[in-house]
């Protein structure tokens, strides 16, 4: 058998050489073909590129180790991905209306975008909040706003993803209390908090506290949910923002998984059993322009995760080995020039996510290089997913690209390149020391500058940006956030502070502060504080007193 295989491989090699010499390299339009991770791509892939691939060990069956072919056995034949459009702007009431609109149009999950002042834990009235309230997401200060946000939406029937990091424990606490007020106990609630602080230091930059106390808060929420909110995904380990900040696909893959392993290690260190929490960890990746590179990234991610969870962390349950992920198409790939073309980009990116086996998807709206999406733009984005799901036929079979010499070669290559990064991170002593040494930050800054230079030298073509440039700029209708939002929010906050029992608020905050100084799990204390309508700003201020704040080196 092996001898026969060797002989065949020899014949193919010879054949390919002959074929290549017949058609000279000079007839190609470029000297080299490289993907977005700078991996050089050959003209043709043959069985020789994947000759060491072992079907059962390296690919296996969908829903089985090592999960290369998919997280679940039936994939989209059993259940389509969740169509989850990230949305939030203005006041809680405005966003509540948008959610109802999306649900009416067939959306199956909610995804909350928060105002920057909420994300950083400032009150709307803080000078740091100037100009930001409700601009990039919905303004939330207290439980009252969360009650309005989910008014008329049954939390036992819908799952909610909240893009919130440093104050994630507080928003989770608020969601639990809103659920309670709707008459549901925490075990009925389904959803995710992003809760991934490591990628904030690496890329998105919405940190508050230094890494160590931030990790404590995250492990507190993981521990709390493991015991009390069993259907909750406790963290959404995110590569999306790493990619948006300018990383390559390989860097996105490697840095995200490295962060994931860091959370696993921290939870094990807390004394949790890996099989008790690992199945509630989820991932969030970007879908960028290079179609096959993205698909291979997702396939490699599943395989790397499964292998490490099994071999390094000793996970035994199938669910602990299975990497599940949400995908968002690449915001950075959208152009302000002829924005309607973005619909086409989004279609290709969404298709890559589906062919890579995503569990949920956000397709960007075509106008997002200009503003937050208008209702029309978001409807088209949602329809794009529905067309991929119901009309294209790509959901009929699981992992249809498997076995392609190119796809399998590139999946292997992405895994190898990620492993090189894992080694480098290990040399720093782990993710947090590597952050402190600015390793990730420099890698990303270098990659994004290189990418931009390649665009300017026309080594990469970006339609309407460096080629086929439009002569006239047509105006696109854009969504404007009324500046009245900030004053309305200030009024809301003022009213809550008058109506609540301030004595009880002080008491709850005092207890939280004492607990923060010790080592107890802070979740119950945070829940008590939000129930009394303590604001996010007040809770964060208390925690800053104890934990301190993070400062970044301003490298470029």
């Amino acid at each position: 058998m092996t001898e026969l295989k060797n002989k065949e491989s020899e014949i193919i090699k010879q054949g390919k050489n002959d074929w290549e010499t017949k058609s000279s390299k000079k007839s190609e339009t470029r000297e080299r073909f490289k993907n977005l991770s700078d991996i050089e791509i050959e003209r043709l892939y043959t069985p020789n590129n994947v000759e060491n691939l072992n079907y059962l060990n390296d690919l296996g069956f969908p829903g089985e180790y090592p999960y290369t072919r998919g997280a679940y056995p039936t994939m989209y034949r059993g259940q389509l991905w969740t169509m989850r459009q990230f949305a939030g702007f203005g006041t809680a009431e405005q966003t509540n209306n948008r959610y109802k609109f999306l649900i009416e149009h067939g959306q199956t999950g909610l995804s909350v975008a928060f105002s920057l002042h909420t994300i950083y834990g400032y009150e709307a009235s803080d000078e740091k909040s100037l100009g930001e309230v409700g601009k990039e997401g919905v303004a939330i200060d207290t439980l009252k706003d969360m009650e309005t946000l989910f008014d008329g939406i049954d939390l036992s029937k819908i799952s909610t993803s909240m893009t919130i990091n440093a104050p994630a424990a507080i928003l989770l606490a608020m969601y639990i209390v809103v659920g309670e007020k709707q008459g549901y106990s925490p075990e009925k609630l389904r959803g995710t908090i992003q809760n991934d602080i490591l990628k904030e230091y690496i890329a998105q930059k919405s940190w508050i506290f230094p890494p160590e106390p931030s990790m404590r808060l995250i492990i507190d929420s993981i521990e709390y949910c493991t015991k009390n909110v069993p259907q909750w995904y406790t963290i959404s380990i995110s590569g999306y923002h790493i990619r948006e900040a300018g990383s390559t696909a390989v860097q996105e893959l490697a840095f995200t998984l490295a962060d994931g392993f860091a959370y696993v290690e921290a939870a094990i260190e807390r004394g949790l059993n890996v099989d008790d929490f690992a199945h509630r960890l989820s991932f969030f990746f970007n879908a960028h322009n290079n179609f096959f590179e993205e698909i291979c990234k997702y396939r490699a991610a599943r395989r790397i995760w499964a292998k490490r969870m099994k071999n390094k962390y000793g996970a035994k349950k199938t669910e602990s080995l299975r990497l599940r992920f949400h995908t968002q198409t690449a915001g950075v790939s959208l152009t302000a020039q002829e924005p309607e073309n973005n619909m086409v980009r989004v279609t290709l990116q969404g298709l890559a996510a589906v062919l890579g086996g995503t569990q949920s998807l956000h397709t960007n709206s075509f106008d997002e290089a200009l503003c937050l999406p208008t209702e029309k733009a978001v409807r088209i984005a949602l329809r794009t997913q529905q067309i991929i799901a119901h009309e294209s036929g790509v959901t009929d079979t699981v992992d249809p690209l498997a076995g392609s010499y190119y796809v399998e070669w590139l999946t292997n290559k992405m895994e190898e390149e990620a492993e090189i990064y894992f080694e480098k991170i290990k040399e720093f002593g782990g993710v947090i020391p590597a952050i402190k040494a600015n390793f990730f930050q420099k890698e990303i800054a270098n990659a994004s500058y290189k990418f931009q230079r390649e665009i300017e030298k026309k080594e990469r073509i970006f339609v309407c940006v460096n080629k086929y440039k439009p002569k006239i700029h047509e105006q696109t209708e854009i969504l404007k956030i009324d500046d009245k939002v900030a004053s309305e929010q200030l009024e809301n906050l003022k009213r809550v502070k008058i109506e609540r029992n301030n004595e009880k608020v002080r008491e709850a905050l005092k207890k939280l502060k004492e607990a923060a100084r010790g080592t107890e799990n802070l979740m119950p204390f945070i829940i008590d504080a939000v129930r009394e309508y303590a604001s996010i700003g007040e809770i964060i201020a208390i925690l800053k007193d104890v934990f301190g704040i993070y400062r970044e080196d301003s490298i470029f």
Binding site: L116, H117, I119, Y120, Y122, E127, K128, S129, L130, G131, E132, K135, E136, Q204, K205, S206, E244, A245, G246, V332, L334, T335, A336, Q337, A369, L370, C371, L372, A445, S448, Y449, Q452, R453, E456, F462, C464, V465, N466, Q475, I478, K480, I481, D483, E552, D553, S554, I555, F556
Partner: protein, 133 residues
């Protein structure tokens, strides 16, 4: 006396916006073009920025805002500069600035307004050609 000093540029991220990819890429391009570049880092209040300007005395200030907060942050910065009688510095804002806001910002004395898809050399040339001193 002939002025040999390099053009000094301050690249700033006002407000809470964390989108710093563009600011960093531009900072590096200006440096590669031979300018002296200082990057403030993130989350700068108008006061922080004006204090840095007083300390560093740059020839140009490039503000990068993608969060939609430009209509609040830019006037605050410009007022404080005026109060300090700083009027010989080029102040520019870029990022995501809707067409209809540009007039208002221009009247405040801001310029530039470069958005997604701008070539780096355009920004380098803009700085070189619009200095006020």
């Amino acid at each position: 006396m002939e002025k040999k000093r390099k053009i000094k540029v301050l690249v700033c991220k006002p407000g809470l916006d964390g989108h710093d990819r563009g600011a960093k890429v531009i900072a590096r391009a200006l440096r590669d073009a031979g300018m002296e570049v200082i990057y403030t880092g993130l989350h700068q209040t108008p006061d922080d920025i004006v204090n840095t300007i007083i300390q560093e005395d740059p020839d140009a200030i490039l503000l990068s805002i993608l969060s939609g907060a430009h209509n609040a942050l830019c006037p605050a910065i410009m007022e404080k500069l005026k109060a300090k009688k700083i009027n010989d510095v080029l102040v520019s804002v870029g990022g995501i600035i809707p067409e209809e806001d540009k007039k208002f910002l221009k009247e405040l004395g801001l310029d530039g307004f470069y958005g997604p898809g701008t070539e780096l050399k355009t920004i380098v040339e803009f700085v070189k050609n619009n200095l006020k001193r």
